[in-house]
């Protein structure tokens, strides 16, 4: 049982500002069903850049709902710039503190706010989506992790998991998290993104062989760890046809796995124009 403060309970049982704003000035969305929590934030901003209304919809645990409620209460009436000064720490403090394993709920609140403001300003991408995905299980980028380390003065890999969820799944990103931590302490050089050596001018046959090799040796073992699997059915020009098996076949997020993991890996390694499609 989590030790929640009365304030968390109050904002969970009777959350403030639940719902959508039909004519919202902007919307910020973070998380997903697969991740176990998600927050959609609606803001109404007047001509003086003041937030006149804020509403939310949240899927998640008690602290996620309470953090969302707290966030909307805190930013209503503030200008957008003032609102951006609200940190995830402030959200947690407003609630009288959160269990440390639940700090990522307050981070999610802050990220939704950033995403909404980016949307308002017409920026192409929400800040949290920039950077390279370090933790594949929860889709957490190095930008998010670096920021969480700096803003919350994180000292251990465990704390990174508490604040961002990175590392809380299969654990294969833990080494990279340790590197990011060391780097923030000034110990290590920044991670060098290794430019994948991409073969050029492959014949059709060579391309097929390479695709098959990468699926068998890299992608399939990695999906098997989660109880799923993948099979190469055919390669038709630049279209790769695959079939998902096991846990993957019934998983709602399988399309994401397909696009963000399988297709990305094949594009990196074989050909940037490849398209991966599932045959059922």
């Amino acid at each position: 049982m989590w030790e929640y403060t009365d304030k968390v309970r109050e904002h969970f049982i009777n959350p403030k500002n639940v719902g959508e704003i039909a004519d919202a000035s902007c919307v910020g969305e973070v998380g997903s069903l697969a991740c176990g929590d998600a927050l959609k934030l609606f803001l109404k901003v007047d001509e003086n850049d003041r937030i006149v209304d804020a509403k939310f919809q949240t899927f998640g645990c008690a602290s996620a709902i309470a953090s969302s409620s707290a966030l909307t209460e805190m930013i209503k009436g503030k200008t957008v710039d003032e609102a951006m000064d609200v940190s995830n720490q402030d959200i947690a403090e407003f609630l009288g503190g959160l269990p440390k394993e639940k700090m990522h709920c307050s981070v999610m609140g802050k990220e939704a706010l950033e995403a909404a403001v980016a949307n308002l300003r017409g920026l192409p991408m929400a800040p949290h989506e920039e950077g390279e995905v370090v933790c594949e299980c929860f889709g957490v980028t190095d930008t998010t992790i670096r920021k969480a380390i700096a803003e919350n003065n994180l000292k251990t890999v465990e704390e990174i998991t508490d604040f961002t969820k990175a590392g809380g799944g299969c654990g294969k990103c833990l080494d990279k998290l340790a590197d990011l931590l060391a780097e923030s302490k000034g110990g290590l050089k920044p991670l060098q993104p290794v430019a994948p050596a991409r073969p050029t001018g492959l014949t059709n046959l060579q391309r097929m062989k390479l695709i098959s090799k990468i699926i068998d040796e890299e992608i399939s073992p990695s999906l098997q760890k989660d109880g799923g699997n993948i099979e190469l059915v055919d390669v038709d020009g630049k279209t790769v046809l695959v079939q998902l098996r096991g846990a993957c076949s019934s998983c709602k997020s399988s399309q994401l796995t397909l696009k963000q993991f399988v297709e990305k890996r094949l594009r990196d390694a074989v050909d940037p124009d490849l398209v991966v499609e599932e045959v059922r």
């Binding site: 997903s32 069903l33 697969a34 899927f59 929860f138 846990a247």
Partner: protein, 394 residues
């Protein structure tokens, strides 16, 4: 506010008759059963009675029972003993849905150089016995498969599995922590070599367990020390706990029919009414081969911890397979092994009843839970018709 306890797969209430049986051995009858004097000897006699009661409920000999501290100890002891007695065999077969008492030990053993095969389950939580047959190697030391799953209640065909193991000359352990008192079994018919149970799941106290080691099977103790339990489990006996477990096993034999009629009917009603009242709800696990007291219900688009906390406000105790409750960030390994979609896995709630539940308990949950789910779905950004979740590489 009265407590409506529907979390009996986590732990159970000590039956008043069990407590009564135990009480004198805390106070007047505090002797050490190993002592030479009559005063201790009387306690020793009471332990023999407990051993006979446990053996009777298992269908085995009293000499095949070893008392210990918990289900986890039985699992650990059986697995380690099987490995220690066959040093040339380096392979273990188990399943992906075992309790951590088995799973984490096997993972640990893998790091120590053993090899393991984890059998998968289908979307209903069932094993494929062909896969098991294929997994057996010449150096397989042990097959360890749970009798019934604690999260879904799915019962595995342990008799068939044990027969396969026997035919292939491989030792077999089963974690029967969840079946004792819920499903009758007879070790004369089921050729397992080891079996583990736990007191606190059968209305006996916490801190006592028992294991069965078939006569003739080589045994390597886990605890070394005094000659208690014929040198197979050193340490002065938890006399009151053992006496309680003995009584609980005796009661369980008498109550098993009740579990499979009255308790089952309550579970079925709870399940049926909730599925009727709440759209987008499904049962995790194969419905016709389940413990009579357990249902794992998955409510789409809501998160388990939120449901539990709202139920808690009505005094209702249940548990969840969601990530948020357990301290881990991913939904339960059991639901994931079954390939339960994330949209459902995060919103899975397990209700596990006992003979102490009433119709009124079920009625209250049936009245309140649909409202709770409705409220949480109103807060949730995901709606039935919206389909795909926003992008995430989880």
């Amino acid at each position: 506010m009265p407590v409506i306890y529907m979390d009996n797969n986590a732990t159970t209430k000590v039956d008043p008759a069990v407590l009564e049986e135990m009480l004198p051995y805390f106070s007047e009858q505090y002797g050490n059963p190993s002592s030479m004097h009559m005063f201790g000897g009387m306690v020793g006699r009471k332990l023999s009675e407990a051993r006979e009661r446990v053996a009777a409920s298992f269908g085995c000999q009293p000499g095949e029972i070893i008392f210990n501290a918990c289900g986890t100890e039985g699992d650990n002891t059986a697995i380690r003993s099987a490995l220690a007695s066959q040093p040339d065999k380096r392979h273990i077969i188990t399943t992906r849905v075992e309790h951590p008492a088995v799973l984490n030990l096997v993972k640990h053993l893998e790091r120590k150089g053993y090899e393991a095969t984890y059998l998968g389950v289908d979307e209903q939580g069932r094993l494929d016995l062909e896969e098991l047959r294929d997994a057996i190697r010449h150096d397989t030391a042990l097959i360890s498969v749970m009798f019934a799953n604690n999260e879904t209640g799915v019962i595995f065909p342990i008799k068939e599995i044990a027969e396969i193991a026997k035919e292939r000359g491989v030792l077999m352990h089963t974690d029967a922590v969840q079946v004792l008192g819920k499903v009758p079994f007879d070790l004369k018919d089921i050729p397992v070599d080891f079996l583990a149970v736990s007191g606190h799941k059968v209305h006996a106290p916490k801190g006592v367990g028992a294991m069965f080691v078939r006569k003739g099977v080589q045994f390597r103790p886990f605890m070394m020390g005094g000659h208690q339990e014929h040198g197979r489990r050193a340490g002065t006996e938890n006399t009151t706990g053992i006496i309680g477990l003995g009584k609980a096993c005796e009661l369980a034999m008498g109550n098993v029919t009740h579990e499979n009629t009255v308790v089952r009917a309550l579970r079925d009603k709870l399940e049926k009414k909730l599925i009727e009242a709440v759209p987008d709800t499904r049962i995790n696990g194969v419905v016709d081969s389940r413990l009579p007291n357990t249902t794992s219900l998955a409510f789409q688009f809501v998160e388990g911890e939120s449901i539990l906390l709202m139920l808690d406000a009505f005094g209702v105790c249940a548990s969840s397979g969601s990530a948020c409750t357990s301290g881990s960030l991913e939904p339960s390994h059991v639901l994931r092994a079954m390939g339960v979609p994330f949209t459902y896995a995060h919103g899975s709630i397990r209700f596990s009843l006992s003979r102490f539940n009433t119709e009124a308990d079920v009625d209250l949950v049936v009245a309140e839970l649909p409202k709770i789910i409705h409220r949480l779905r109103e807060i949730s950004p995901f709606k039935r018709t919206e389909g795909e979740a926003p992008a995430c590489t989880c």
